[in-house]
Symmetry: C2
Subunit: 301 residues, 2 copies
């Protein structure tokens, strides 16, 4: 299967060795703004002769663009799409899914939430007939690193610098600390797993920017910590979504795991409450999620 | 798809409504020692005309029998098998798998560990090329309920009585408290996910029977608790397995979740460490796991 890759950041660099070790895949080309492989993205797609586009551009939580247009351009050329970008899923999941189905193409996005740990594919492949009634998660790594750094005596900026060094901060880190990354993930989860029709703007949202080293250290002395918690639930009429900084006991499952660790819980009808934890994932896991999606597309072709 | 059910306990009672709501399935008969549907189990299978046997007999952690023989009897009649019994997987996974493959039949056992939360199917369906290097889990509900009861001032026996009332204790509850249930689950996980060739007897095993209300209450005052922890890892030559009562901080992920809650962590090559938590599952979730296996068998037929 021939793969065209859009974006040339840390995920692309971690993905290439996975693809190189699997002779079912061939990389037809890598295109990015800093290292263009053609005059335009469309020319790149046309020239690649690829079967699938791997879309790894950076997030715009307000619009999901230009990733949505990239996905549509690939569909128009009869290419499947795998993306790690949550923007399109948060803003246009149902439209893009319908277009994919009409063209008999696949759209996969496992790495858009929880860095490649199976979430979307878990429900697609393993949980027939299960209805998701609600979702609770701690999904943003950067805000957690900032809180932990402040607990250790560092500043807000020290935490951000560390998150940038690990490569987990969004290009614009205010998207992390103001809750936009979490809101986008929450909207994506709700659109896919709860059949919601929401955008990140509809998520009631509060970030961690109001927290200071003094405040988090005072909580730490009481055995408590702060986490940016995502919540989704069904009201009588629609799916409600909220992202807010919550004070949690350190014994709370949502507070467990250090560093970039994430946790997500699904509240369901037939399977009660269960979920996934991912301990200190990095870009390698995001890249693996993209790889697992590519294998999924390949085996369905 | 016609289903023959062996065993008539709480899982069967929870499974029947799930099957009744799905017109792809028909129950051909239910056979148990207390309510036999035929003179012998073999006659029951022959008369059922079933496509798949659902094996829900009770665990014998020492041998995996008679469940192993039941599975072979079904294979001999060209029937797929879904079981919630971990004994056969802990004692004869590789032999049974080979027999199933030779006859082009499916053997599924999602509910044998973690009560139906996707574990085996997760690796089968969602994680191509991931190697499991080690496993850490808190997998036995009864021992946890006993510890919690003693923390609250009750006796060991009070805890066991509560576990029996919830329907989560093994028929012989010493299998829970002496670590046999955990050892059998650990061996099953290692056989399937780490390509081990082990039996429960090869698991270094220690139960919770040495713990008293006084001791667990003293730990609780220090913010600690006891959990029966399963561990598997690779040594230079083989897969090592251990089950032991470990003293954990209450902030430890392995100590999180109350009641029947379980947690399992996989240490892997490409996906780092991640896992599944299941909060307060009951027999409904075990029954759902069997149902999800049946859907999997159906869609592959």
């Amino acid at each position: 299967m021939r793969i065209a890759i859009l974006g040339n950041g840390s995920v692309t660099r971690s993905l290439l060795p996975l693809l190189a070790r699997d002779d079912r895949f061939a990389v037809a080309g890598i295109h990015s703004r800093s290292k263009p492989a053609a005059v335009s993205f469309e020319d790149f797609l046309d020239q690649s002769g690829a079967d699938v586009l791997v879309e790894l551009t950076t997030l715009n939580p307000m619009t999901g663009e230009p990733a949505i247009s990239h996905i549509r351009a690939a569909f128009a050329r009869n290419m499947h799409v795998v993306t790690a970008n949550k923007g399109p899923i948060a803003h246009a999941f149902h439209e893009l899914s319908r277009e994919a189905i009409e063209r008999k193409l696949d759209l996969r996005f496992e790495s858009s939430v929880m860095d490649g740990a199976p979430v979307f594919n878990q429900f697609r492949n393993n949980l027939p007939g299960v209805q998701v009634l609600g979702i609770t998660g701690v999904l943003n790594s950067t805000s957690k690193l900032v809180i932990e750094e402040m607990e250790k005596g560092g500043s807000f900026e020290d935490g951000l610098a560390y998150a940038r060094k690990l490569g987990v901060a969004e290009a614009d880190a205010s998207y992390d600390t103001e809750g936009w990354d979490s809101a986008t993930k929450t909207a994506a989860l709700a659109n896919v797993l709860m059949d919601a029709r929401v955008t990140p703007q509809q998520v009631e949202r509060e970030g961690i920017t109001g927290w200071t080293p003094d405040r988090v250290q005072a909580l730490a002395r009481e055995g408590k910590s702060v986490r940016l918690v995502s919540r989704a639930w069904r009201s009588a009429e629609r799916v409600m979504l909220m992202v807010q900084a919550e004070v949690l006991d350190n014994t709370d499952l949502l507070a467990s795991g250090t560093g970039t660790s994430n946790v997500i819980l699904f509240h369901t009808d037939r399977m009660g409450t269960f979920g996934t934890v991912s301990l200190s994932p990095g870009v390698e896991q995001t890249a693996y999620g993209v790889y697992s999606d590519l294998v999924d597309v390949l085996t369905r072709c």
